[in-house]
């Protein structure tokens, strides 16, 4: 090496001196946007090396992370799957709880909006095994002061009535059951009739003469004549009406979703419900002013609620059996239930 250098020393020195001066020039010269030529060259010289280095390291990193470091990926994957399953289950639970909370919130709002009526919240726990009958079971029974022929409603509308009472459960006959009958009236014409179940999902309204004009969509309310439901509760709306002998055949679209019931309210009295302000989801349709008895009952209920929780609104017992039945509101106002067949 040294021998080669000595042999070509003048030429080597020439190249060295010229290169040194080229670098000297590059330090002074600026190109383009005030970038010195020496920096320009340095960047141009280093960029391929940096690019190659980056490429090499990325490939090495890919090999490492993609192959070598995956020795415990299987275990981690299983753990993550397990965690995912657990979280999905928890998510479904939370969604279910949220939906339940929403339903219970509606019931609570409805219950608080009508303190004049004594109600008991209940959960649907089962349905009839007989496909021809439309009945269901709720988690309230004799221990909760539930009696036969008490009305069952939801904030949307009338559901049915209690037909059998057991110690801790009760059977509810829906309004579309073939043996069901509810005293009803057309909201516009105030024409009375009976909403009877047919065994089909939709009941029909009977005892309306053919001369009565029934408009599709016309609301159908309880008339109170059956002594089960207070007057003015929403049953549903009129579907198609066709003349028949001797009365019209009116199909009824139930307001309550009878096929998706989960939480209901049991009316412990036939106290007429007072219509509330707009925007509230309620089965109560504005009708005649409440009688004096309604006002008295409301006052009694309010005083009892105030006595149980001073300074706080009465908290209804929603969905769960009460450990102390005496705390239930309006227990003393439970009506003397009389089985009553619907009357046209």
């Amino acid at each position: 090496m040294l021998g080669t250098f000595s042999r070509f020393r003048p030429l080597t020195l020439l190249v060295g001196v010229v290169l040194a001066q080229v670098l000297l020039l590059a330090v002074q010269i600026k190109r383009g946007r005030e970038v010195r030529l020496i920096r320009y060259w340095a960047v141009e010289l280093m960029t391929p090396a940096q690019r190659a280095g980056t490429w090499t390291f990325s490939k090495l990193g890919g090999v490492w992370t993609g192959y070598i470091a995956l020795h415990n990926a299987r275990t981690e994957n299983e753990q993550l799957r397990s965690e995912l399953d657990r979280l999905q289950l928890r998510n479904r639970e939370l969604e279910s709880e949220a939906a339940e909370g929403q339903r219970l919130g509606l019931l609570l709002n409805f219950r608080q909006g009508h303190p004049e009526a004594s109600m008991l919240a209940a959960q649907v726990i089962g349905a009839s095994a007989d496909s021809s009958s439309h009945t269901l079971f709720i988690n309230r029974g004799d221990r909760d002061q539930v009696r036969r022929n008490l009305g069952v409603i939801t904030p949307e509308g009338v559901v049915g009535k209690i037909v059998e009472v057991f110690p801790s459960t009760a059977q509810v006959q829906l309004i579309n059951d073939k043996d069901s009958g509810v005293g009803a009236l057309l909201a516009d014409t105030r024409t009375h009739g009976v909403v009877r179940g047919t065994g089909d999902p939709e009941p029909r309204m009977d005892y309306v003469v053919n001369d009565e004009k029934v408009h599709p969509g016309e609301l159908i309310l309880t008339s109170g004549e059956d002594r089960i439901f207070p007057k003015g509760l929403l049953i549903g709306s009129a579907g198609g009406a066709s003349p028949a002998s001797p009365f019209q055949l009116i199909h009824v679209h139930p307001a309550a979703r009878l096929d998706r019931l989960e939480d209901v309210l049991v009316l412990l009295s036939q106290q007429e419900l007072t219509p509330k302000g707009s925007g509230e989801s309620s089965s109560v349709v504005p009708a005649s002013p409440p009688p004096a008895a309604t006002v008295d009952a409301r006052a009694a209920d309010t005083s009892k609620a105030s006595a149980s929780a001073p300074g706080r609104p009465p908290q209804p017992n929603l969905g769960k059996p009460s450990a102390n039945p005496t705390r239930r509101v309006n227990r003393t106002q439970a009506p003397a239930v009389k089985p009553a067949a619907p009357r046209p």
Binding site: R9, P10, L13, V17, V18, Q21, V22, I29
Partner: protein, 177 residues
């Protein structure tokens, strides 16, 4: 340094290596640079001559040592750049480094004592100097510099003719062998 500036290189063969009194090369180079700057004050005719180039060629040929020749050319060129207004340091340095190297290399191989050979040598090296200068300007400085023009031809002829006279004067500064 003394070896480079005063004694020159020892070459093989029958080519004579000339020696000069101490400081002769340095003084001559400085004088050439000063005169070049001084003469520019008196008109563009002074651009016909490149005295530093002629001094580089002369001492390169006389000393006949490529190493000393390229260093002498580099030093003179860098000083010429330093005295110029807008030239970056190294522009003339690169060109005159090549000139010093080539002049020394040529001087070590052929006889450069004859006026005709001196004329031809200066003529050729003048254009080579211009080529290197233009190439450097084009590549590094991004300037448009010509490799050859009729004016450059005139300059080279004038410089070569002037070099014949100047070299004869500089020969008087040699130390007697």
């Amino acid at each position: 340094m003394d070896y480079i500036l005063n004694r020159g290189a020892r070459t093989s063969g029958n080519i004579e290596v000339h020696r000069y009194h101490g400081g002769t090369v340095i003084v001559a180079a400085f004088l050439a640079l000063i005169l070049q700057a001084f003469l520019h004050k008196y008109g563009r005719w002074a651009e016909l001559l490149d005295l530093p180039l002629l001094v580089t060629i002369y001492f390169g040929v006389s000393q006949r040592n490529p190493v000393s020749g390229l260093f002498l050319g580099a030093a003179i060129g860098i000083l010429q750049d330093a005295l110029s207004h807008d030239n970056p340091i190294g522009l003339y340095g690169i060109a005159k480094t090549w000139i010093g190297y080539l002049a020394s290399s040529v001087g070590a191989r052929i006889d450069t004592e004859h006026p005709a050979s001196r004329f031809g040598l200066v003529f050729v090296l003048f254009h080579f100097h211009q080529v290197v200068l233009a190439f450097t300007q084009r590549v590094l400085l991004n300037r448009s510099a010509p490799y050859f023009t009729p004016r450059l031809l005139l300059d080279s002829v004038v410089s070569a003719a002037f070099a014949v006279v100047l070299f004869a004067l500089l020969d008087r500064l040699r130390r007697p062998s």
